[in-house]
């Protein structure tokens, strides 16, 4: 096997991992703040991809889809938190999980009613088609663009959480919500915004991944399992963990695809099992 092919596959892995990173970040932020595991995360990823496609075909521009769809679905996510999840705070931790699972059924079937059951191709924007010479081989421009967007979002997220007053409130609220209430912070508004942000990240992942695979109502199922694997490996609630584990899983999948294609999907679950045996709390997780 020549090194050029391996390097190319490594780049592919990073692009794949970038989508995993952004999806798992959304899941992790929601859990870290609200203590809710969003089982509708994969379905919202799928809804995001459809929303992106819809806005793009309406305006004739991929860029509007990329910009508007995550905001649209993020606001929809806020509505979900306000109407459906808010009544469940203080009840068993399983209840929001069960509710979002039921919700994913409704979302998938809703998309089937509106857009049909068959997959729809998501065209790559013309300005991002083609390949670029990386010195070792030709690589699709679109995948480089995806890595760039995810990098930008991660930096913005980090700046937002570490350098702004809102970020300070979010971090403090994740640690001790009761104390934040005592200090006069309306924590429920923070939870609303954080849930919207997490869902927005999932749908951004959906729009970005659209041109890399076709869009269909079932695409969320695999995404949810992938996001779970990444967060379990990285440590639930740890943002650094999501980023590193996302890239790791992406690279491992893509390397396995090179040597044993039939093992590509299986290998990430095996990786998770190994991490569970050695560090049950995940690579960057804290012991409960």
């Amino acid at each position: 096997m020549d090194t050029e092919l391996i390097l190319m596959q490594l780049f592919s892995g990073v692009a794949l991992g970038a989508i995993l990173v952004i999806t798992a970040l959304g899941l992790s932020i929601i859990f870290g703040m609200l203590g809710v595991v969003n089982f509708a995360h994969g379905a919202l990823f799928m809804v995001g991809a459809y929303a992106g496609l819809w806005v793009a075909s309406l305006t004739g521009s991929f860029w509007w889809g990329l910009l508007v769809a995550p905001i649209m679905i993020g606001v929809f996510g806020m509505a979900i938190e306000y109407v459906l999840i808010r009544p469940l705070y203080g009840r068993s931790i399983d209840d929001p999980l069960l509710l979002t699972f039921g919700l994913s059924y409704v979302l998938v079937e809703g998309v089937r009613i509106v857009f049909g059951s068959d997959g729809i191709p998501f065209p790559t924007p013309s300005s991002l088609t083609g390949v670029v010479d990386l010195g070792v081989g030709f690589f699709p421009i679109y995948r480089i663009f995806v890595v760039g967007v995810v990098f930008l979002v991660v930096v913005l997220l980090w700046l937002g959480l570490e350098k702004t007053k809102f970020g300070l409130i979010v971090r403090a609220g994740a640690r001790d919500p009761t104390m934040m209430k005592v200090l006069g912070v309306d924590i429920s508004k923070v939870w609303l915004l954080v849930f919207g942000l997490g869902v927005g990240l999932a749908s951004l992942g959906g729009v970005l991944s659209g041109p890399m695979r076709s869009v269909n109502p079932e695409m969320g199922a695999l995404v949810l399992a992938e996001a779970f694997v990444v967060t379990v490996i990285g440590g639930l609630g740890s943002l650094v963990g999501s980023i590193i584990a996302g890239l790791l899983v992406g690279v491992v999948i893509s390397m396995t695809a090179l040597f044993a294609p039939e093992m590509a999907t299986i290998v990430m679950f095996a990786l998770m099992a190994i991490v569970l045996l050695i560090r049950p709390q995940g690579l960057f997780g804290k012991l409960a």
Binding site: D94, V232, L236, I266, F269
Partner: protein, 330 residues
């Protein structure tokens, strides 16, 4: 839970529900077998009755872990599917007699449940649900990638059981009524086993873990081993349900391993009521009847079932039977 009015004047009629409840609990196995005997004559089709039997068994087995041990698994489809696949492969590819194939399916499912349980019970709380889901997806993708054994995406076919030999009597297994009553023996066995487990000291131990894990540990229970045993027993009963479905359909769809099938088991259990013995069976009945009725109206019946489930989580978290017991029969 008695209301103040009842506490002041406990009339004979007010005590009746309590007696009803204890009688139902005492005779829960004979009562459920009686109900199962009547079921095929109450439902619109015999095929629906067989499905209720299968998924009722699966849900009752699942509830040992979810309702009684308090662990929300999203991976039990792996055991149902494994039981079904092993039975199908044993009959279709090795010509094993059907009863041995059932036994092999149950043992195979139990072994898988032991391994998955050993990995997933290392984690706590919300992690557990995610890990069981991911491990079950691993089983799904293994089945997808080994088509020479499992038939891959097309599912497993070619192991029809036409007739079975019971103590010298030959029974036509294609007749739906015969099929129902043969499979009912397995379901009754599973119900008896679960009832027996719940009445044992082990049954008290799993409920103690559900109520307060730390306290159970302090009382000297080995929490990890108890959880693992509960997981394995629950997976074993689900595998039995899987072998029943393989005999019934003579077909194992790949989707039977998917986590959405696990989710269906969870939905059935919660609809009926997770903290009660009859709840899961009633949930399976209601779910399958809803599917039967709504799918006549629309191919998008899942949106109705999903919405109903969301409403149940919000407003009736104890499910149909659980709510009936606490609100009506208190």
């Amino acid at each position: 839970m008695t209301s103040p009015a009842l506490a002041v004047s406990p009339s004979a009629s007010a005590r009746k529900p309590a007696r009803f409840r204890s009688l139902v609990t005492k005779y829960r196995v004979p009562l459920s077998i009686l109900a199962l005997c009547l079921l095929p004559w109450l439902l619109p089709s015999k095929a629906l009755a067989v499905n209720v039997l299968i998924y009722g068994t699966v849900a009752v087995g699942y509830n040992l872990l979810f309702g009684y041990t308090g662990l929300l698994s999203f991976g039990h489809a792996a055991f149902v599917g494994t039981g079904a696949y092993i039975t199908g492969i044993a009959i279709g590819q090795f010509g094993v007699p059907w009863y041995l194939a059932v036994l092999m399916g149950v043992i195979g499912g139990a072994l898988l449940a032991f391994v998955m349980g050993a990995l997933s019970t290392r984690t706590r709380g919300i992690y557990f649900s995610m890990v069981t889901l991911a491990l079950a997806q691993l089983v799904y993708y293994v089945a997808l990638q080994t088509p020479s054994w499992t038939g891959g995406e097309n599912g497993l076919r070619g192991f029809t059981v036409n007739k079975i030999n019971l103590f010298g009597f030959e029974i036509n297994f294609l007749d739906p009524v015969n099929k129902y009553y043969v499979l009912m023996v397995f379901a009754a066995l599973a119900l008896w086993l679960v009832s027996r487990i719940l009445n044992s000291p082990f049954g008290a131990a799993i409920e103690a873990i559900r109520e307060n894990e730390r306290r159970a540990r302090t009382c000297g229970y080995n929490v990890e081993r108890t959880k693992l045993l509960s997981f394995t027993l629950s997976g074993t009963i689900c595998a039995l349900g899987g072998t029943m479905s393989a005999l019934h359909l003579a077909f194992v769809p790949l989707d039977s391993l998917h986590y959405l099938s696990s989710g269906m088991i969870v939905m059935m259990t919660l609809l009926g009521g997770a903290s009660s013995f009859f709840g899961p069976f009633i949930g399976a009945l209601v779910f399958l009847v809803m599917e039967d009725v709504f799918s006549l109206w629309t191919s998008h019946w899942q949106i109705i079932v999903g919405s109903i489930f969301v409403l149940f989580v919000l407003f009736l978290p104890k499910g149909i039977w659980g709510t009936f017991l606490t609100k009506v029969m208190r």
